[in-house]
Every structure is written in structure tokens, then in C-alpha cells.
């Protein structure tokens, strides 16, 4: 039986620089709940733009993006959507340098109604899960590149999101750390049945996904 797509991108267009740059030209994409999808393509192909549109960080010029029952492309309640539904992992860890690992993981939960003690415990468990039980109170400058990215992974999962959007998450890591982070992502995805959309230009990274989608010049050509 065919499962109904959970995430749908329908005829999405995105221009920059007053239409001079056409980043996306009528993109259609369907992703099932719990699926691990990789978007691959060369630099400037539009894969990061598509990820940002799905994450509600910017709006398409045309077309519709739906995640579950939420219409992202309407541009309403995006803060709530990003906090509750989405977990972002960036190429550069984007941690706050003056906060320790535990505090960084807790950042997306500030303002939550869940008691701090419970959130702290979840953050601690996540950091233990990503192998940083001895680095809870280390600040980013005291951590290695791989460790920082693992903190970023824990942060992305803190609000138990249904969707993880990872933009070149291993782009700044060596092969060994890269493999470890990908393995971690797969394990966490399977444990929580989280949908993952990962962007990379590296075939070795996209190979970790269940499905690969190729984008060139703002159009999906495979997947």
C-alpha cells in the first residue's frame, strides 16, 4: 500500500536578485514520514535554497510547501513551526561560543512550558547519546570539530522534531568524524522515526540516505 506523502513541495519557484538568479524552477518533491532523503547536486544547484524553503527560513515566489498539515509557504507561525517541527543542522555547527554544550542544546527550548529540570535531563541524555557525556560543561572552543557537530545534532533533536534539515552537516569534518555523525543521524532517525532531508554535494555522504534526489540548475532531475 502506498503511504501518503508527509512532506510535499509542489511547483515551487524561487528567484533572487529581482529575478536575475533563478534558484528553483518548478520543483516538485514528496517525502514520506520517517524517510531519510538526500538532496545532492553541485554548488549553486538550488539544494540549500530548497532546504531553507522547507525549513521556513524564506518564502518561495510561487508554489506550495506542506509539512504534515502545516502549509509552510503561507509564511504564518513559522517561529513555532521551526521550534516544534524542525531541527536544523548546519555545515558550521553554529553553536554559541560562550555557552557550554548543555546550555547550547537547551537554547531551542527556552520559553517552553516543560519544566527546566526535565529539559535539562533530556539535553543531558542526548549529549550522552552522541557520546559527549564527559563534555557536558565544555564550551565550543574547548571541543573538537566532530564534537561540536555532535552537540549541534543533539540540539537539533532536543524538541523531538518530526523533521531534521541538515545542510552539509559533515562539510567541515574529516572522513572519520563525518562517518560518525552520519551514523548518529541514522540511528536517531530510526529511533524516533524522524524524517531527515540532508543536503550534500558529496556522494559518500548522500549514500547514507534511503533515497537520493539530484538537483541541477534549480530542477529535480532524479529521485
Amino acid at each position: 500500500m502506498n503511504e501518503k506523502p508527509w512532506l510535499v513541495v509542489n511547483q515551487v519557484y524561487k528567484d533572487f536578485d529581482q529575478g536575475k538568479i533563478k534558484a528553483l524552477r518548478g520543483v516538485n518533491l514528496s517525502v514520506k514520514k520517517g524517510e531519510f532523503v538526500a538532496l545532492e547536486g553541485p554548488s549553486g544547484s538550488g539544494k540549500s535554497t530548497l532546504l531553507h524553503l522547507i525549513g521556513g527560513l524564506e518564502q518561495p515566489n510561487q508554489g506550495e510547501i506542506r509539512v504534515g498539515n502545516f502549509i509552510v509557504s503561507e509564511g504564518k507561525n513559522l517561529d513555532h513551526y521551526r521550534r516544534q517541527t524542525v531541527g536544523f543542522i548546519f555545515q558550521l555547527h553554529n553553536l554559541l561560543a560562550h555557552l557550554n554544550a548543555l546550555e547550547n542544546v537547551l537554547i531551542p527550548t527556552i520559553g517552553s512550558k516543560t519544566p527546566l529540570s526535565q529539559r535539562r535531563e533530556r539535553a543531558r541524555q542526548l549529549l550522552i547519546r552522541v557520546g559527549l557525556e564527559k563534555r557536558l560543561h565544555y564550551r565550543p572552543p574547548q571541543l573538537s570539530g566532530g564534537e561540536r557537530q555532535r552537540v549541534a545534532v543533539a540540539r537539533a533533536f532536543i524538541n523531538q522534531p518530526q523533521l531534521i534539515l541538515a545542510d552539509e552537516p559533515t562539510g567541515a569534518l574529516d572522513t572519520q568524524n563525518s562517518a560518525a555523525v552520519l551514523q548518529l543521524l541514522k540511528e536517531l532517525q530510526q529511533e524516533a522515526r524522524t524524517t531527515i532531508i540532508l543536503v550534500s554535494h558529496n556522494p559518500a555522504v548522500t549514500a547514507a540516505a534511503e533515497r537520493k534526489i539530484k538537483i541541477i540548475d534549480g530542477r529535480i532531475i532524479e529521485g
Binding site: D79, R83, N94, H98, I107, P108, I110, N159
Partner: protein, 371 residues
């Protein structure tokens, strides 16, 4: 909110020197407000005590005088006051500033013999001056000068025998002395002139009615001061101090707000990318604004505390100067510190509002791309 305050504190700790300099900048303004307000309130309280320390029902001074010491009443006016129905007794007072030892502004009051009891009550020791070369010292002046009844005090080449010590509880009076009215008049070549007249109303008469009658009889020439509000209306010194205090407060708000704005704008521009991260992680514009305002709140709290302490210290230092402490005793009360906190809060709120709105206005993606 607790976590936001904690994060704001951590954010400020990143640039310790800048945060401390900003706090110091606001603190100087707050310290000035605290010190001036304490002195101004002290002066008010002192005046209130002075009005209550005597047996007068009201005092009469020249209308339009900038200060009581600049009020000059002529004998005809004094006579008219004395003859007004309902006036039981009067005390004629002339102030005299003369150098005594290290104090160039030692305050003497020349009072007519019959008015001394009315003006100052019974002496603590000794008696009232009865001769031209007799003097009665205030309690604090006697302590400061280490003099007692029977000792001699030299003022402007003339020796006075100390015949009594009095205590009114009013700093500027107890730091001074009393001589006969004529002595003070001759010493200043102000024969028959007085600064003010203290009036005791006879029983069965209304104080306000007698005061109004005097003002009517000497229309446009004198003013009757029945209470502290009346006093405030003629005393320019108090008005100037209060006006100065408000002007300094206003300047402190403006200068402090510019300082805070500068700090917060620099801080926001340094953290554009960080704010982008927070927005990408689901923080709302409101939460970003609250974070920046919380940082400003910490600056305000720190400035209130340090500014208040600096103000207390500055006032204490000022009181080490005898000629200031002889006239002024600062009065610290809760309202001064509330005023300081309100000013510091206003300064930081005013200064951080624009940076906060600026930070909240960043698009998450543009902020993330910001280098």
C-alpha cells in the same frame, strides 16, 4: 523568563570591559542624582525642622526675596506686624555670616532679647546673651570648636563671652551661634534691619487669619510663611537645588541612553549571525527583543547599585567639608533609590529599544549568512 535573564547575563559577560564601562557611565549619572536628591531632601527636612523647632506660628519675610538671608524688613514693617491684632509676640531675626576659625561661613543669628525664647526655646546650658559682647553657641559649634560656657570666642577682632549653649536639632542652627540683634546689626552696618520676623499668635486667634491680615496690611511687601509649602514657594535655593537635580537626571538619562544604545548596537551587530541562529532554531522576534532588553535590564540593575553606592560615597566625602556639613545634612530615603532605579531603568530601556527592534528585524537566513 529566568533562562532568558541567565542567557542575557552570560551575553554581557562576553564583553566584560565594555559592559563595565557602560555600567560606570550610567552609574555616574545615578550617583549625581542620588547625591543631589539626598542633599535637596536633607535641606527640605532641615527647613521643616527649623520651622518646627521654634515657637513661631509663622514667619514673615520680604516678598520676592530669593532667600531668607536676602530678605530685608524695615522697622516700619516690623512695627506694623507687631501691632496687628492677634499677634502675641514676635522675634526679630537677622542672619550674620562671619569667619570663625577655619569656617569662613559661620552662621550667627541676631535675635532681639524678648524673641530668643520664642525662636530657640530654653538653652541647654547657661543663659541667653544679654549684653553686646555675649554669645550663645549651638551644640555642634561648641563641640567642633571645643568651647564651653565661660570661654571666649573671637569674631572679627571682637571677643565674645560664651554664656550659653542651645540645641534645636537643626544642623545649620546648631552649627552656629546667637547674639543680640543689635550686635548683628552693628557688625553688618544694617542698623534696624531684620531678615525675618517670627510671629506667635495669641490664643483665640486663627493663625491663617492673622497671617492673611499681615499680608493684606503690608500688601506686596511681605509674605507670611505658615508651612513648608509656603517656604518652598519663596526659597530659591531649594528650587535651584531641586531644578539642578532634575536637570542632572535629565542629562543622565540622555547621556546614559546614548551610552547604552552604543553598547547594545555594537553588541547586536557583533551577533547578527548568532541572532540568525536563534531565529532559525525557532526563537520569535519577541524573544529576541526580550533577550536584548534583559541585557539592558542587567546593565540598569548594576548601574543602580553601583550608582547608589557612588552617590552615598560622594555625599559622605562632601560631608567631610565642614562649611558644607554645617549647613546641609543629606537625607537618604527609599524614594531616592527608587528614583535612581527608575532613571537607570528608563535609560537602559530607552537605549536598548532601537537595538532590540533592529535585532528582531533581521531575517533568519540573512542573519545566518552575515559575515
Amino acid at each position: 523568563m529566568r533562562e532568558l535573564l541567565f542567557l542575557a547575563l552570560k551575553n554581557l559577560q562576553r564583553q566584560k570591559s565594555r559592559s563595565l564601562l557602560t555600567i560606570l557611565g550610567i552609574s555616574i549619572g545615578i550617583a549625581t542624582i542620588v547625591a543631589l536628591s539626598a542633599l535637596s531632601q536633607g535641606a527640605m527636612a532641615s527647613m521643616e525642622r527649623a520651622l518646627q523647632s521654634n515657637d513661631f506660628d509663622f514667619i514673615v519675610a520680604k516678598k520676592g526675596s530669593a532667600d531668607l538671608i536676602l530678605s530685608y524688613l524695615k522697622p516700619k514693617q516690623v512695627a506694623k506686624i507687631k501691632k496687628t491684632p492677634g499677634v502675641d509676640a514676635i522675634a526679630e531675626v537677622l542672619y550674620w555670616m562671619a569667619p570663625v576659625e577655619k569656617n569662613p561661613y559661620f552662621l550667627l543669628q541676631g535675635i532681639n532679647r524678648r524673641g530668643m525664647k520664642l525662636a530657640l526655646g530654653e538653652p541647654s546650658r547657661g543663659r541667653w546673651p544679654q549684653k553686646d559682647d555675649e554669645i550663645m553657641l549651638g551644640k555642634l559649634a561648641a563641640e567642633n570648636l571645643s568651647l564651653e560656657v565661660g570661654d571666649m570666642l573671637k569674631i572679627k577682632e571682637k571677643n565674645y563671652r560664651i554664656v550659653g549653649i542651645f540645641a534645636t536639632g537643626v544642623a545649620f542652627q546648631d552649627n552656629g551661634a546667637v547674639v543680640l540683634l543689635k550686635t548683628a546689626q552693628q557688625a553688618q552696618d544694617l542698623t534696624e534691619t531684620v531678615n525675618l520676623v517670627g510671629v506667635k499668635v495669641a490664643s483665640g486667634f486663627s493663625v491663617n487669619e492673622v497671617a492673611e491680615k499681615i499680608e493684606q496690611d503690608l500688601e506686596g511687601e511681605v509674605v507670611a510663611i505658615v508651612n513648608l509649602e509656603d517656604f518652598e514657594s519663596i526659597d530659591q535655593g531649594l528650587k535651584i537645588t531641586q531644578g539642578f537635580s532634575w536637570a542632572i537626571s535629565f542629562l543622565a538619562v540622555i547621556i546614559g541612553a546614548i551610552g547604552v544604545m552604543n553598547t547594545m548596537i555594537m553588541s547586536v551587530w557583533e551577533r547578527v549571525r548568532e541572532i540568525g541562529i536563534l531565529r532559525a532554531l525557532g526563537w520569535s522576534r519577541k524573544e529576541v527583543i526580550l533577550m536584548i532588553l534583559a541585557e539592558a535590564l542587567w546593565l540598569g540593575i548594576a548601574a543602580t547599585i553601583t550608582g547608589s553606592l557612588l552617590g552615598l560615597g560622594a555625599t559622605e566625602l562632601l560631608m567631610q567639608v565642614p562649611m558644607i556639613s554645617a549647613f546641609l545634612q543629606p537625607l537618604f530615603n527609599l524614594s531616592i533609590f527608587i528614583q535612581a532605579a527608575v532613571v537607570a531603568g528608563g535609560v537602559t530601556l530607552l537605549g536598548s529599544l532601537y537595538p532590540a527592534l533592529k535585532a528582531a528585524g533581521f531575517s533568519p537566513l540573512e542573519a545566518l549568512r552575515y559575515e
